[in-house]
């Protein structure tokens, strides 16, 4: 836990809250056996959670526990006395720090006039989308309970996954890390389309059979739901749980939890193993608070697997220093080399698009996608540019069925699903679809490539030729000015291909 001082607040509260005094209410006419039974039930349902009181009620309601408020508070009070539950103020009044989202940004705590406690109060702007934390509210930290599971249901899965030779080598190394090494964190660096998911799955199946609780986080909702759909086809039902905004079973429990990073906020020292997928992507990339949520969600000294195709320079530095062990998979699962992008210098792209002038490369790209019956993925740096490209696309050919997708789009999942089904053949998008998606017959065009970082460009180029059966995909960068990042992409990809050839992995 990141320097989180757990203050123990006893039941005779000197605590500045009306809600907290709820716990000190008289249990009255509830019989003792009934009360202890119910409190055990609450403990089972809520173990390992870090919740506000309103969230506790929501969780119990989701499990169809319809007890009276008096009974619930009495049950929770019993848990506090048995030291199975701690109360912490959601926001520390003195240090002005949010104990829930652990944010380092001092601006995110703001003073309000609270109508609930009739006093000056603080609220946190860092996590208010997940329910409002105020300094007059307690945060309930439940201790983790061991949950027994049946073992033999997992055996048939491991045989289904076929691994290639390089992948099998990686699995051995990862198993070695989990079983023997003392280091806590391991960097798993594999190129795009290397079959990371399959490798990790074979590693975690024996862990799941042991009954360990595993958290698999990824920063984006699209990536997480894609991962969940894959895992449900391989693993038995009820073993995997999807946690993301709008998910139906937010309050259920399962051994393998697939979640967006934001949802991890509601766990404290619960998981036995962490997998952080696409760890360099947006909300995680320079948000220290989120990393400390991940640390808090796991039991202290558990092992973490940091998975990425484009590691941050600071991690690589740690690896070269020998502080962080690393595993490196330079080849795709089908043994073909990574596609190299072609860079085209096109001045004044926007003016040309507005005037309706032809851009030769753009036209070639469209013709190529249509001729090879593929799917064209066009990346733009800002969502305002999407309609402009859509307009230009419509002018080129009549058989183009295109839409645009961005993060603020409400119907984004249905649009992506349409592209999967083949009802669309062009998609204009922002960095939303840069990672974690696999379209079988994909071509990529990056407009205004000078605005993207080299990590984003590598991910975009990595969407192409992911299926062995379709190797016609091409990557084009259109740019108004050739930057270091674009050159770096080509250098890095050729280096990776060289490494793979050296190791004898390429077919």
């Amino acid at each position: 836990m990141q320097k989180l001082k757990v203050q123990r607040v006893t039941c005779s509260l000197s605590y500045p809250s009306k809600l907290a005094t709820v716990f000190a209410q008289d249990a009255g006419s509830i019989s003792w056996t009934h009360l202890s039974k119910r409190s055990k039930l609450y403990q089972q349902l809520l173990s390992g959670r870090l919740l506000l009181f309103s969230e506790v009620l929501a969780c119990l309601a989701a499990h169809k526990v319809c007890d009276a408020l008096k009974l619930i508070t009495a049950g929770l009070q019993l848990l506090i006395l048995r030291e199975e539950l701690y109360l912490v103020p959601a926001i520390d009044n003195n240090s002005k720090k949010c104990n829930r989202c652990l944010t380092f940004d001092s601006k995110s705590i703001c003073a309000i006039k609270c109508a609930a406690c009739n006093d000056e109060c603080y609220m946190c702007l860092g996590c208010f989308m997940m329910g409002r934390a105020r300094s007059c509210l307690p945060l309930l930290v439940f201790k983790t309970l061991e949950v027994p599971i049946s073992k033999n249901m997992l055996m048939p899965i491991a045989r289904k996954i076929k691994l290639t030779n390089p992948q099998a080598q990686i699995v051995d190394k990862l198993n070695n890390f989990i079983n023997t090494t003392k280091k806590q964190e391991l960097l798993f660096f594999a190129v795009t389309g290397a079959g990371k998911t399959e490798v990790i799955l074979t590693v975690i199946v024996p862990l799941l059979a042991k009954g360990l609780k595993i958290l698999w986080v990824a920063p984006q909702k699209e990536v997480v739901s894609g991962l969940y759909h894959y895992l449900t086809t391989v693993l038995p039902k009820g073993l995997v749980l999807l946690l993301c905004a709008g998910s139906k079973d937010l309050w259920q429990r399962a051994l393998l939890v697939v979640a967006t990073v934001q949802q991890v906020l509601r766990y404290a020292s619960y998981f036995d193993f962490l997998i952080i997928d696409e760890a360099d992507a947006f909300p995680l990339n320079n948000n220290l608070a989120m990393w400390s949520w991940l640390k808090r969600a796991a039991i202290p000294h558990t092992k973490r697997l940091v998975v990425t195709a484009t590691p941050l320079p600071s991690w690589l530095k740690n690896v070269f220093r020998g502080e962080m062990p690393a595993v490196f998979l330079p080849v795709r699962y089908h043994g073909q080399p990574l596609p190299l992008p072609k860079i085209f210098y096109v001045p004044r792209i926007r003016n040309k698009l507005i005037a309706g002038e032809e851009i030769q490369v753009f036209k070639e790209f469209c013709a190529r996608v249509i001729a090879t019956k593929g799917e064209g993925l066009i990346f733009v740096p800002r969502q305002e540019l999407i309609p402009l490209i859509l307009y230009a696309l419509k002018a080129y050919a009549t058989c183009i069925k295109a839409t645009g997708v961005s993060a603020s789009d409400i119907a984004r999942s249905t649009k992506v699903a349409k592209l999967y089904k083949g009802k669309l053949n062009f998609m204009v998008t922002t960095t939303l679809l840069e990672r974690g998606v696999t379209f079988p017959r994909c071509h990529v065009l990056v407009m205004w490539a000078e605005y993207f970082t080299h990590r984003a460009l590598i991910q975009m180029a990595g969407r192409v030729r992911r299926k062995h059966s379709y190797q016609l995909g091409q990557v084009f960068f259109l740019t108004e000015r050739i930057t270091k990042d674009q050159v770096k992409v080509i250098k890095e990809l050729t280096l990776l291909n060289k490494q793979a050839r050296k190791a004898g992995f390429l077919k």
Binding site: K18, L19, S54, C110, I112, K113, C114, A115, A116, C121, M123, L125, F128, M129, R132, R134, Q383, E384, S408, I410
Partner: protein
């Protein structure tokens, strides 16, 4: 030091809806100016011709169909700032349910301009707000209408007082259909201890709320105030 820095790097205005940085230094501009072009496309400010009583946008009639159908025996006017589009809905949800309290400043200052242009010619005595039941107040921590009313009251230098209380907790109106809303909001409100007949006698009052949908809440509030002797009651909301 901080002043020196802010002299060379003046504070940039951000869109108060999506927090995107805006071109130009519009820090103290009106809320409808401080929106980015993308959000502005989804905000539709209400312009004349309006329905005389509920304040919705019309083509030519004097009253909209909903107001003509309603059996309303008294004089009541509502005015609002923007149409209740999807983005506005999201903004109101962010303010009300998610609890981003500082949104009340742009919302209220927008309402202030409408208040002055539409109701400026009358001389008002009081402002009041739509009350909330105590359990939900505990849960939410603030009354969104009260904050708007206090801001408006300060701006036009008239006292804002809570004349009304909610007698029984009701489901949030946003979960109910039109007919049920109209039925349910009868007998929900009552006068509070501030609302003596001597205080209210012959006074003109504005009720403040965040959203006007069917008007059930606001009209039942208004009828209560009129019954207790006030001369004229109108209402102002952010979205319509």
């Amino acid at each position: 030091m901080r002043e020196a820095i802010s002299f060379f790097f003046p504070k940039r205005a951000v869109c108060w809806v999506c927090t995107r940085v805006l071109a130009g230094y519009l820090v103290n501009a009106a809320p409808w100016m401080r929106i980015c072009s993308y959000c502005a496309n989804h905000f539709r400010a209400i312009k004349a011709p309006l329905c005389f009583s509920c304040g919705s946008m019309l083509r030519g009639n004097k009253q909209c169909g909903g107001c003509l159908a309603r059996e309303q025996s008294f004089y009541f006017q509502n005015r609002s700032c923007v149409c209740y589009s999807n983005l506005v809905k999201r903004v109101v949800q962010l303010y009300k349910y998610k609890g981003k309290e500082d949104l009340f400043i742009p919302l209220a200052s927008w309402m202030l301009s409408v208040l002055l242009s539409e109701f400026g010619q009358f001389s008002w005595d009081f402002l009041t707000w739509v009350p909330m039941d105590s359990y939900r107040l505990q849960e939410r921590g603030f009354n969104q209408a009260r904050m708007l009313a206090l801001y408006l009251g300060q701006a036009i230098k008239k006292p804002a007082k809570g004349f009304l209380v909610r007698k029984k907790p009701s489901l949030p109106q946003s979960l109910l259909k039109r007919k049920k809303r109209l039925l349910i909001s009868k007998g929900v409100f009552a006068l509070s201890e501030y609302a003596n007949p001597d205080v209210l006698q012959g006074k003109k009052i504005i009720i403040v709320d965040d959203v006007y949908t069917t008007g059930a809440t606001l009209i039942s509030c208004a009828s209560l105030l009129l019954e207790s002797g006030s001369k004229q009651v109108c209402s102002i909301t952010f979205a319509r």
